[in-house]
Every structure is written in C-alpha cells, then in structure tokens.
C-alpha cells in the first residue's frame, strides 16, 4: 500500500465520491421510478427537489474529477520514480493487471458524467422536463461505472509494490513486445496517416454541414484512431526517437508537459463533438452551434499540435524519422 500524501488525497476524494455517489444513486432510483412531470402529488414536488440535489452532486463529482484526473496522471508519473523499471506513468499503470482498465474507466467516466450534465442542461430547457426519468435511469447505470473506477483506484494503489520490477514503456509499446497490442504495429504509416487526416477532413466537413449523426460517428472513431496515431507515429516525433512509442512519457516535464495539452484538446474536442451531435439528434429544432464550434476548435488545435512535431522535425533535419 502506498501511503504518500498524494495517494491519500486521491483516496479521500474517492471515498467522498463513493459516499455522495451512493446517496445520489439511492435518490435516483426513486426519481427514475416515480417522477412524473404531470403529477400534482406532494411526492412529485419532493422528487423535483431531490432531482436538483442529485444534479448538484453529479456536478460536484464531475468538476472535481477533471483536475483530479490530471493529478492522478501526475501522481502516477511521480510514483514511476519509486518503482524499479518504470520510466513514466505507463510502467506504473501496467504494474498491476487492471491498470489499463482503470485508465479506461477514468476516461470513460469523465465522458459519461459530462454527457449526463449536457443532458441535464437540455432537460432544464423544456418545461415538461422530458429527459428527467431518462437521465436518472442513466445515472443509476453510470453509478456502477463510478463504483468500478473507485474500487480499481483503491486496488491499484493497494497493489502497487515498490519492490516489484516492472516493464518500462519502451517494452510495453514496441513492435517486438509480446503484448496484445503488438499487431497494431503492423499498420503502415501511410495508411494510418491518411486515415487520421481523412477523418479530420471529414470532421471539418461535417462541422460545416452540421450533420449530427455523421459528426457523432466521426468523433467516436476519432478517439481510438488518434491514440493509435499518437503511439505509432506522432509520439516518435515528440521524442525524436523512432523506437519510442509511449503515449505517456510526453506528459512529463522533459517534453514540457505537452501531453496534457494534447489529451485535453483531443478529449475535449471529441466530448463537445459527441455532445453536440447527441443534443441535436435529441432536439431537432436547435443546432447547438457553440458545442460544434468548441469541438471544431479543439480538434483542429489537437491536429495542429501533433502535426507540428513531424513537420518541425523535417524542417530542421531535412529527413523523416
């Protein structure tokens, strides 16, 4: 068990989330079951108030989770100094079996809670509260994701063992590794890059056409594709090392923490994109132009940042890696 102050901070907030989350979960069950905007019953008024409490709790959790997620990565990076063999968060995360799962949960939960809040805002725009039941039923589901993440967090810090020697990212993300992701290294760069920039072009086009369904699909596809492109291609230019494929190391100080910017623009852009599409699909009358715009700007910024590395490298050295 690691009992350093940063780990304690994360666990304490986790405990708080669990407490509030459970409370919200119980209330949500009642709301999802009994809420009826047309009812005159006293219970309905009580439920309306409780719905606001749950929404407040979810906002609290979400807005705290955002900085806490960054802090989690930062902490994992620090812990990598303690663990033999780990050079960055990748090694730390991989030092326990479910490390990547934990990471996935953390990101997915941020998306889920974010969508929930979008739905909530949408709901409060209409006097019939059309999505109230749906949104609390959804929270009942999301709660299990939250619980899973919190337990993973707990077991993660519990299982971290500073005496154990782990693989560093160099072996985790390499073509020779025996890991399950080896096959992706067989994807040739030209194909990968044309897919990456092609998807981005589609993104831009659909942004101007405000095509909700297409935009949704493009954004959903863009997340894994971008991560893949980061590992296989762009990362190597950030490190200027053709063999270094780690998607975590560029979060470190040596690379001016550029990873934070990269991931914030990627996740932020796709989040707004997916939200905008879902909202326009749900409510055909409006276009939610601001969300489309945020999505476009952030995604364009993401593409610009990652593209700048290989271009600058080529400009300076006259060759590709």
């Amino acid at each position: 068990m690691m009992l350093s102050p940063d780990v304690i901070a994360i666990l304490v907030l986790d405990a708080l989330f669990l407490l509030f989350g459970t409370f919200a979960f119980v209330l949500s069950l009642g709301i999802a079951r009994h809420f009826d905007a047309h009812s005159f019953h006293e219970r309905q008024y009580a439920l309306e108030k409780k719905a606001l409490l749950v929404a407040t709790i979810i906002q609290y959790i979400f807005y705290l989770k955002l900085p806490l997620f960054l802090f989690f990565i930062f902490t994992s990076d620090t812990i990598s100094n303690l663990i033999t063999g780990a050079m960055c968060a990748a090694g730390v995360v991989n030092s326990v079996d479910f490390g990547l799962l934990l990471f996935a949960f953390k990101i997915i939960n941020l998306y889920l809670f974010g969508f929930w809040l979008v739905l909530h805002t949408l709901d409060l725009k209409n006097e019939t509260l059309p999505y109230t039941r749906a949104k609390f039923s959804l929270f009942v589901l999301f709660f299990f994701f939250l619980v899973a993440e919190i337990f993973c967090d707990f077991y993660f810090f519990n299982a971290l063992n500073i005496d154990k020697i782990v693989s560093c990212c160099g072996t985790l993300f390499s073509a020779t590794s025996t890991s399950s992701i080896r096959f992706i290294f067989e994807l040739p760069h030209p194909i990968l890059l044309s897919m990456f920039y092609g998807t981005f072009a589609l993104h831009v086009m659909l942004f101007f056409r405000k095509d909700a369904l297409g935009f949704l699909l493009v954004n959903l596809f863009f997340i894994p594709l971008s991560i893949l492109a980061l590992i296989l291609f762009f990362g190597t230019y950030i490190y200027e090392l053709p063999t270094h494929h780690c998607p975590f190391c560029f979060l470190q100080k040596e690379y001016h923490y550029v990873g934070y910017l990269i991931y914030i623009t990627l996740f932020g852009g796709t989040f707004f994109g997916i939200s905008a599409s879902i909202m326009s699909l749900a409510d055909q009358r409006k276009t939610y132009a601001s969300f489309y715009r945020y999505s476009f700007y952030l995604t364009a910024l993401f593409v610009a940042i990652v593209s700048a590395y290989p271009l600058l490298y080529f400009y300076r050295n006259g060759v590709w890696l």
């Binding site: 905007a37 047309h38 309306e48 409060l124």
Partner: protein
C-alpha cells in the same frame, strides 16, 4: 390574464392536521384590471396570491397566467415565470435589512446577469420616479416605513412585470402613506399593469381605482 379554475389548497393533506385554506375558487382577471381580494385575516388571501405567483402548487384545480399553466410548472420554470412576469409587494415589505436601497432593488435581476449599464439605468429611473434616489446607498434598516414601501414597489417593478401582486400593502402604513400608495397604483394602472390587491383595509373599498372585488371567507369564494 389570470384564470383560476376550481382551485383548492389543502395544507398537510392526508395528515391529521390537514387544513383547507382554499376551497374551489374560480375566477378570471383580465389584462389591465385592478382587482381587490377581500377577506378577513386567515381567509386564504396570501395563499391564493402565492399560488398565482407559482410559489406553491394547488392541491386541485388549474391556474393559467398569461397562457402558462402555472399549477403544472416545475419549480425551475415557475421561478423564471416570476422573474419575467410577476412583481410582488409584501405586507411586511420583506426587504433585506442589511442591504442598501439600490442593492435591494436590483436583487430580482441578479440571476439574469444583465449588463451593468442597463441594470443601473433601470434602477435609477425607478428610484427617481418614486422619489428615493437620494437614499440610494442608505441601508434599509435606516429607512422609514413609507420609504421602505417605495423601495418595495421599485423592486417589484424592476423586472417590468405585467402583473403586480400586493399582499396587505397598507398594513404597515399610516393614512397619508396609504393614500400615497393608492396614487401610485393609480399611475401603474394607467400603464396597463394587471394588479391584484389582497387586503382587509377598508380604505380600498369603493375606490375608483378598483375595477372589481373578489371576497374570500374561510377559503371559500363569496
């Protein structure tokens, strides 16, 4: 403008201490009318006003104000409705004693976050109109009853409402101030505001200002 259809309000319904404060009240108030809501203390006048403003929900019946089904509106939207359409003048003034005159007047506009320029110009013109401009920075607790009454009216008008609801507006005023109040209502009437005055003050009976009276007794309309 205001439409009530067999509206009942039972407090603590179902419990032992259930109390029927309003019993099947129905009436209609047209735009620009000034209506007097008469009745002894405890007859349900305040309860009725708060239902019209959407502060509470009726146990039975339907309330439609300006085409909106107030009785069906969730709290979130009832507040928006009050913000846009209702001005409230309370019996006990209900000002925030530790805020200044200006601050009290702008309270209803705070959540709307409108530009400061517009906010100030609205508040200033109202303060000039009701003669309390020089008290702008004075705290409410240092004001006389008549001055407080004017602040209340300014606050009720700052959102430019179509409907003014007055609950015992003259209960804390002496005769001259009460008369002054009637004068002010008179000018507001000429501006086309719909006004409901709930009172048991005989001053209002048979005033030319009043278009119509509705009388309540123990929750029933007579």
């Amino acid at each position: 403008m205001i439409h009530l259809n067999t509206v009942s309000k039972i407090f603590n319904a179902g419990a032992k201490n259930a109390f029927c404060a309003l019993d099947a009240v129905s009436f209609e108030i047209k735009q620009g009318e000034v209506v007097l809501l008469k009745g002894a203390s405890g007859s349900g006048k305040s309860t009725l006003l708060s239902l019209i403003a959407g502060l509470g929900k009726p146990t039975h019946g339907e309330i439609v104000v300006g085409g909106k089904h107030i009785s069906k509106l969730p709290d979130h939207f009832a507040a928006l409705f009050r913000r846009s359409s209702i001005g409230f003048i309370f019996q006990k003034f209900n000002l925030i004693p530790t805020l200044s005159v200006f601050e009290n007047i702008i309270v209803p506009l705070i959540p709307s976050n409108i530009p400061e320029k517009e906010l100030c110009s609205r508040a200033n013109s109202l303060m000039h109109r009701f003669g309390i401009a020089e008290k702008r920075e004075t705290l409410i607790k240092h004001l006389s009853g008549g001055e407080q009454q004017r602040v209340v009216i300014c606050r009720a008008l700052i959102n430019n409402p179509r409907i003014l609801l007055c609950d015992e507006p003259t209960a804390n005023l002496d005769a001259t101030l009460s008369y002054e109040f009637v004068q002010m209502m008179q000018t507001l009437k000429t501006e086309g505001k719909t006004i409901v005055i709930a009172t048991h003050d005989s001053l209002f009976f048979d005033l030319p200002l009043i278009d119509r009276s509705i009388e309540l007794s123990k929750g029933k309309q007579i």
